[in-house]
C-alpha cells in the first residue's frame, strides 16, 4: 500500500500569468503517511493540493502517484479523492446518494452502490440519517458525509482542503482525533491543508511549510517545531523567539553571537561561517527563566515588560529588549507568582545554550505569527 500511495512532486510550477502560485516545488510524500501542508493564505498550498487532485494542471513539472506519472491524467481517475473546504455536498441528493455518487458515475448498480454507501455512512456514524438531505445536517455531520463520499471509491490518497476550518473549536478537536484514527485504520496517504499550526503538529507525520509558492521546510513536526529552517518558519509555527546578530568569535563550529542590544549567545553554526557574519537563530519560548542581574553573562536578555498574559499552566511575558520583535517568555506559573511582574518592570531572562538553534534559511517574512 505504501509504495502505491507515495507521491512525488517534481519541479512543479503553476503560473497564473506572471504570478507563480507554486514555484518549482520538489517534494516526496511517503505512502501511508499523514502530511499537513501549512502556510498563510495565498502561499500556494491549496493550489498544490488541487494539482495533486487533478483540478489544476501544472504549468511545468511532474506529479507521480505510486510511481505513475499522473500529471495530465484527469481527476477522478488517478486514485485521489478531494474533500472540499465547504464540503460541496450535492444539495439535491440524500446522504446515501451523495456518498454513492462516485460509484454511480462508475456504473455500479443501484442496489449495490446504495448498500456500500450505507456501510460507509455507518462507518462515520451517520447511518440513521441516510435518507436526509445535506441542508438538514449540522456542520460536523456534513463534514463526515463529505469524508464518506470521498472514501467510497477506495482512494490511495485522500486530500483534505482545510477540513476543520468551518467547525467550532470543540468539534475541531474531536474531528482531529477522528481523522488521525481513520488514517491509521485505512493506511492510505492523507494530505491535509491547514493554516493552523497546532492542527498540523498534532496530526502530521510530515509537515510541509509553504510561503510564496515555495516549500520552506518539509520535515517531521518535531523537526519543524524545534529546528525551523528559516525565521519565517519559526515565526509561522510559533513557540520560538527569532534573534539575529554578528558572529563575534568562532572555534570548531561553536560561535559566540553578539545581538544588537549587546548580549552574547552560544550558537552551534557548523562549517562555512566566519567572524562578522550576520546570523539568525531561535530560542524556544518555554525553558526560559527569570533571573537576577548578577547572573547575566550569556544566553540571556533584559528588557521592560510590555504585556503579561496568564495562560493557566504558564504565564506569557512579552518583553521589549530593544530589538524590533518583542521577546516572549513562557514562565512556569509557580515561579512567576513567587515574584509577580507588572507592565513596565525591567526583567532579566536566561536560558540554556542548547536552546539556541541556527536558522539556515533566509526567508525573514513575518508570516502569520498567530498562536491559535
Amino acid at each position: 500500500m505504501s509504495e502505491q500511495s507515495r507521491i512525488d512532486i517534481q519541479n512543479v510550477t503553476k503560473a497564473y500569468g506572471a504570478t507563480r502560485a507554486v514555484n518549482e516545488v520538489n517534494l516526496r510524500i511517503e505512502g501511508g503517511s499523514y502530511c499537513c501542508m501549512i502556510g498563510p493564505s495565498g502561499c500556494g498550498k491549496t493550489t498544490l493540493l488541487r494539482m495533486i487532485a487533478g483540478h489544476e494542471e501544472p504549468s511545468s513539472g511532474k506529479i507521480l502517484i505510486g510511481g505513475d506519472d499522473v500529471t495530465t491524467k484527469g481527476t477522478g481517475s488517478r486514485g485521489t479523492a478531494l474533500m472540499f473546504q465547504n464540503y460541496a455536498l450535492f444539495p439535491h441528493l440524500s446522504l446515501t446518494d451523495n456518498v454513492a455518487f462516485g460509484l454511480k458515475v462508475k456504473g455500479v448498480a443501484k442496489e449495490v452502490r446504495r448498500e456500500k454507501a450505507r456501510e460507509m455512512l455507518d462507518r462515520v456514524q451517520l447511518l440513521h440519517l441516510a435518507d436526509r438531505v445535506p441542508s438538514e445536517l449540522s456542520g460536523g455531520q456534513q463534514q463526515r458525509v463529505a469524508l464518506a463520499r470521498a472514501l467510497i471509491t477506495n482512494p490511495k490518497v485522500l486530500l483534505l482542503d482545510e477540513p476543520l476550518s468551518a467547525l467550532d473549536e470543540f468539534l475541531r478537536l474531536k474531528m482531529r482525533v477522528e481523522l488521525k484514527r481513520l488514517q491509521n485504520e485505512l493506511g492510505i496517504t492523507f494530505i491535509h491543508v491547514t493554516h493552523t499550526q497546532p492542527e498540523a503538529i498534532a496530526l502530521a507525520d510530515q509537515v510541509v511549510v509553504m510561503d510564496h509558492g515555495i516549500v520552506e521546510q518539509a520535515a517531521s513536526p518535531n523537526e519543524v517545531y524545534n529546528r525551523p529552517h528559516s525565521p519565517y518558519v519559526a515565526r509561522f509555527m510559533g513557540g520560538q523567539n527569532v534573534l539575529s546578530g554578528k558572529i563575534e568569535s568562532l572555534s570548531s563550529g561553536a560561535a559566540v553571537v553578539m545581538t544588537p542590544n549587546g548580549f552574547r549567545h552560544d550558537l552551534k553554526v557548523g562549517l562555512g561561517f566566519s567572524i562578522g557574519d550576520l546570523v539568525n537563530f531561535v530560542v524556544r519560548r518555554d525553558h526560559i527563566h527569570l533571573t537576577d542581574v548578577a547572573d547575566l553573562r550569556r544566553n540571556c536578555a533584559t528588557g521592560r515588560v510590555i504585556n503579561v498574559e496568564y495562560q493557566g499552566t504558564f504565564v506569557k511575558l512579552a518583553i521589549d529588549t530593544g530589538s524590533r520583535e518583542e521577546f516572549i517568555a513562557y514562565i512556569n506559573d509557580q515561579a512567576y507568582f513567587a515574584t509577580p511582574k507588572a507592565v513596565g518592570d525591567v526583567v532579566n531572562v536566561k536560558w540554556g545554550p542548547a536552546l539556541n538553534h541556527l536558522l539556515l534559511g533566509t526567508n525573514n517574512s513575518t508570516g502569520n505569527p498567530s498562536e491559535d
Binding site: 497564473y16 491549496t46 488541487r50 483540478h55 489544476e56 494542471e57
Partner: protein
C-alpha cells in the same frame, strides 16, 4: 478559486457554450440594428428604398416642427411616470422590507406585486376601459357620491389615462429592484443609527434612500426605456389625441416611410442612451450589483 481552473480547455468550452447565444444575438439584434442605422441614411420615394446615402431623413425629421413637440411630450410622460412609480415603488418596498415581520409573507407579497409581469400588457391596459369611460365605474361612483353632476370626460382618452396606464403597467419594474437593494441593507446599520439618536425620518433620508440608490437607478432605467419605447398605450389610452416619438414612428412605418422612421428611432435611441448613461453616472450599477 475554481473560476480560474482549467484555463485552456475551459476557455474553449466557454466559447462552445456561448456560441448559440452569440450567434442569435448577432443575427437578431446586432445586424438588424445596424440595418436600421443604415436605413436611416437611405433614400425613399415612399414606395421603394434606394440604398444611397442621404441626410435628408434626419433633415426632415429635425426640421419638422412636430418632432420637438413629440420629444418633449415623450420626455414629459417619462418623467411624470418615473416620479410616480418611484414614490409608489419605494413606499411599497419600504413597507415590505421593514414592516412585514415574516420573511415568507414578505416574499409572497412581493410575488403578488410581480405576477402581473407575466401576463399580457395589452389586456392589463384594456382593463382600465370599464373604469375610466364616461359611463365607467369611476364616473358613476363619483356621481352617486354627489361629487360631480356631469361625468368627467378627462378620465379616458387623455394624458391622464396615458400616465395612469404607464404607472399601472410599469410600477412593478420599480418595486423589484428597490426591494432588492433595500432588503440587502444590514439591519445593524439601522440599529446603530437609532443608537446614535437618529429619528425615523433621518434614518429614512440619510440611510435608506442612499442605500437604495442602485435599485432606484435600475428601476428608473426600466421605466424610462419602457415609457419612451411605447407606442401602443399612448395610442389607445389617448384615443389617438396624444402621440409619442415611437407612435409617430409607427405611423411612418404604417405609411411605409421606413427611412424617416429609422431616423426618428435613431434619434430616440440616442436620447435614451444619454439618459441611461446619465443615470449610470450617478450610480455604478455594475459595481453595486457585483457586491
Amino acid at each position: 478559486m475554481s473560476s480560474r481552473s482549467n484555463s485552456a480547455g475551459g476557455r474553449f468550452s466557454s466559447y462552445l457554450q456561448v456560441a448559440p447565444m452569440a450567434l442569435l444575438m448577432f443575427t437578431l439584434v446586432g445586424i438588424p440594428l445596424v440595418i436600421v442605422v443604415l436605413l436611416s441614411f437611405w433614400q425613399t420615394d415612399g414606395i421603394t428604398i434606394y440604398r444611397e446615402f442621404t441626410w435628408s431623413n434626419y433633415a426632415s425629421v429635425l426640421n419638422s416642427p412636430v418632432t420637438l413637440a413629440l420629444f418633449i411630450k415623450t420626455i414629459k410622460f417619462a418623467l411624470i411616470t418615473l416620479i410616480i412609480t418611484t414614490i409608489i415603488g419605494f413606499t411599497c418596498s419600504y413597507f415590505l422590507v421593514f414592516y412585514v415581520r415574516n420573511l415568507k409573507l414578505q416574499i409572497g407579497l412581493l410575488l403578488v406585486c410581480t405576477i402581473p409581469f407575466w401576463t399580457s400588457d395589452v389586456i392589463r391596459m384594456v382593463s382600465w376601459i370599464p373604469f375610466l369611460g364616461r359611463e365607467g365605474i369611476f364616473n358613476s361612483i363619483l356621481m352617486r357620491l354627489g361629487l360631480i353632476s356631469h361625468p368627467l370626460s378627462v378620465l379616458l382618452y387623455s394624458d391622464f389615462s396615458v400616465v395612469l396606464a404607464y404607472v399601472y403597467l410599469f410600477t412593478l419594474f420599480m418595486i423589484v429592484p428597490i426591494f432588492n437593494s433595500m432588503s440587502k441593507i444590514n439591519p445593524n446599520i439601522i440599529e446603530a443609527a437609532r443608537d446614535a439618536g437618529a429619528s425615523k425620518w433621518m434614518i429614512l433620508t440619510n440611510l435608506i434612500v442612499p442605500l437604495c440608490k442602485t435599485g432606484i437607478a435600475l428601476g428608473s432605467i426600466f421605466v424610462v426605456t419602457l415609457v419612451m419605447g411605447d407606442f401602443f398605450v399612448v395610442n389607445v389610452m389617448s384615443g389617438g389625441q396624444s402621440a409619442s416619438v415611437v407612435s409617430a414612428m409607427k405611423n411612418n412605418i404604417d405609411q411605409l416611410y421606413y427611412p424617416q422612421a429609422a431616423a426618428m428611432a435613431i434619434l430616440l435611441v440616442v436620447l435614451v442612451l444619454l439618459l441611461v448613461t446619465a443615470i449610470l453616472r450617478v450610480v455604478d450599477i455594475r459595481r453595486e450589483l457585483a457586491r
